[in-house]
C-alpha cells in the first residue's frame, strides 16, 4: 500500500495504491498527516489505484473529512472502483463524501 501526496495549485492530491486494510492503516494515517493540517484547500483522494478499503480505511477518510471541515477545506473522493463504491453504498458513506 502506498500513499503519495502532491500539490497542484489550490488542490492537495493524495493518491492511494494497493489495499487499504487494517495492516496498512497505521502507515497510511501517518502518510496523510499533511492533509489534516491543510486549510482552505481542495483535497482530492485519488483512488484510481486503490483496490480495496476496509473499515480502518473508511475511518482514515473520515478523519480527513473532519479535519478538512474544521479547516474550511473540501474533500473529493475520485475514481473509486466498483467494489469500493459498493462499500460506500453498504455503509451509507455515499452521503458523506462527494464522489467523482
Amino acid at each position: 500500500m502506498t500513499t503519495t501526496i502532491h500539490e497542484n495549485g489550490n488542490q492537495l492530491i493524495a493518491a492511494f495504491a494497493g489495499r487499504l486494510d487494517t495492516a496498512a492503516a497505521v502507515s497510511t494515517m501517518e502518510a496523510v498527516k499533511p492533509l489534516l493540517e491543510a486549510a482552505n484547500k481542495e483535497i482530492i483522494l485519488d483512488c484510481s489505484e486503490l483496490e480495496y478499503i476496509s473499515s480502518s480505511g473508511l475511518r482514515i477518510f473520515l478523519s480527513i473529512r473532519k479535519e478538512a471541515a474544521a479547516h474550511s477545506s473540501k474533500v473529493i473522493v475520485r475514481s473509486i472502483n466498483a467494489d469500493i463504491r459498493q462499500v460506500f453504498m453498504m455503509t451509507g458513506f455515499i452521503s458523506l463524501f462527494e464522489i467523482q
Binding site: 473520515l62 462499500v87 451509507g92 455515499i94
Partner: protein
C-alpha cells in the same frame, strides 16, 4: 497644519498627545460591542471603529474650530459602526448600547424618527456615547446593510450636505432611500414570519400532527430532531457491532419528494412501512463483511431503496437514487445493478415478482 489659527493648532497638538488614549478607547468600545453582541447571539455584517485622522480633524477645525474649546468637545473623534442585516436588529443593538455606555442624548440623533416629508437622506441611528471613565466621547452609528450601501454611495458623490446637491440627483437618491426602506421592512417581516412558521411547525411535529406539515427543508430538519431513524440505524449497527457516524440527511429531501412524500406524515408512513425490509437488506449486505463503521444515513438510504424496488422503480429508479445522492456517475448504473441483484434474494422482492 497651514491656515489654522492658534486655538485650532492647540487642539491638534492635544489630539497628537491623546492618540494612545484614543486608541485604547477605540479598542475598549470594539471589545464591549463584540462581547455584548455575542452574549445576545446577534449576528451582524460589520463591527468597525476608527480614530479621526489628523487631516480630517484639521478640516473640521478649519470649518468650525471656534465651536470647540478642547478636543473633548469633539464628539466623533472616535467613531464606531455596527451594520446589521435587519432593521429591527438596529433597535436591539441600540438598547444594548444604551446599557453599555453613557449616552449624550442632547447630541444623539435618531434620523429614523425625523420622518420629515422633505428630509434628505436615509434613516440611521447615531449615538454620542461616553465609555465609563473616559474623558472623550465617541460616536456609534447603527445601520442596516441597505442603509449602509445607500450612505456609502451617497458619500462617494462628494456632497457633504443636502443644500449642495443638484435637485434631480437629490430626488433620485430619495427615491432609492424610500425603496430601500421598504426592502428593509420586508426583509424584517420575512424573518419574523419565518420564525413564526418554524415555531408552528415545531409545535405540530411535537404534537404528532405530521399530516398537517408540508415537507420542506425546515420541516424535515424539525422532524429529524426527534431522531425517527435511530432505532433502525442501531439495529443495522448491531449486525457487525458497528459504530455509527453522523451524516447529513438533507440530500434525502429531494429523494423523498420524488417518492411522493408531500407531508411529514408521508415520510413517517414511508419509514414505518419499509423499515423492516430496509433492515433485512442491510443484514444481507453487511452480514458477510467485517465493515464495522456505518453512517447514520444508512437507514434512510435502505428505506428509499426498498421503497423504489417495492413500487416498481427497478434498476432505473435505483440509478436515479444514486445520481441524486452522489451526483451523476457512470458507475451508478453498475451500483444499481448490484443493489438490485442483492435485493432480489429478499422476501419483499419475492412478493413483487
Amino acid at each position: 497644519m497651514e491656515g489654522l489659527d492658534l486655538h485650532c493648532r492647540m487642539i491638534l497638538e492635544e489630539y497628537e498627545e491623546a492618540l494612545p488614549r484614543l486608541e485604547e478607547l477605540k479598542e475598549n468600545v470594539l471589545v464591549s460591542l463584540r462581547e455584548a453582541l455575542d452574549r445576545a447571539g446577534l449576528i451582524v455584517t460589520t463591527i468597525e471603529a476608527r480614530i479621526k485622522t489628523e487631516e480630517s480633524l484639521a478640516g473640521k477645525l478649519a470649518l468650525k474650530g471656534a465651536k470647540y474649546a478642547t478636543l473633548s468637545d469633539i464628539t466623533d473623534i472616535v467613531g464606531a459602526r455596527v451594520v446589521t442585516f435587519y432593521t429591527d436588529d438596529v433597535d436591539r443593538i441600540a438598547s444594548m448600547v444604551e446599557k453599555l455606555f453613557e449616552i449624550d442624548w442632547d447630541n444623539s440623533v435618531d434620523k429614523r424618527r425625523l420622518h420629515q416629508l422633505d428630509s434628505f437622506g436615509y434613516n440611521s441611528l447615531h449615538y454620542i456615547c461616553r465609555y465609563p471613565g473616559s474623558e472623550y466621547r465617541f460616536e456609534i452609528q447603527l445601520r442596516t446593510t441597505l442603509q449602509h450601501a445607500w450612505a456609502s454611495i451617497n458619500h462617494d458623490t462628494g456632497y457633504k450636505s443636502g443644500i449642495e446637491i443638484p435637485r434631480e440627483y437629490m430626488r433620485r437618491m430619495n427615491r432609492l432611500a424610500g425603496m430601500l426602506e421598504m426592502a428593509d421592512d420586508e426583509f424584517s417581516r420575512i424573518r419574523t414570519e419565518l420564525t413564526d412558521y418554524r415555531r408552528r411547525v415545531h409545535t405540530l411535529v411535537r404534537n404528532g400532527r405530521l399530516d398537517d406539515v408540508l415537507l420542506d427543508g425546515d420541516t424535515f430538519r424539525s422532524y429529524l430532531q426527534a431522531r425517527p431513524l435511530d432505532t433502525l440505524n442501531k439495529r443495522i449497527a448491531a449486525i457487525n457491532q458497528a459504530e455509527i457516524q453522523d451524516a447529513p440527511l438533507s440530500p434525502y429531501l429531494r429523494v423523498l419528494k420524488e417518492l411522493q412524500c408531500n407531508t411529514l406524515g408521508d415520510v413517517s408512513r414511508l419509514i414505518k412501512r419499509y423499515e423492516e425490509d430496509a433492515y433485512l437488506l442491510a443484514r444481507h449486505q453487511l452480514g458477510n463483511t467485517d465493515l464495522d463503521i456505518i453512517s447514520s444515513a444508512i437507514g434512510l438510504q435502505n428505506i428509499c431503496i426498498v421503497c423504489i424496488l417495492s413500487t416498481g422503480g427497478g434498476k432505473i429508479g435505483l440509478e436515479r437514487l444514486f445520481d441524486v445522492l452522489n451526483g451523476h456517475n457512470s458507475q451508478n448504473t453498475a451500483l444499481a445493478e448490484l443493489t438490485y441483484q442483492q435485493a432480489s434474494a429478499l422476501p419483499f422482492m419475492q412478493n413483487n415478482k
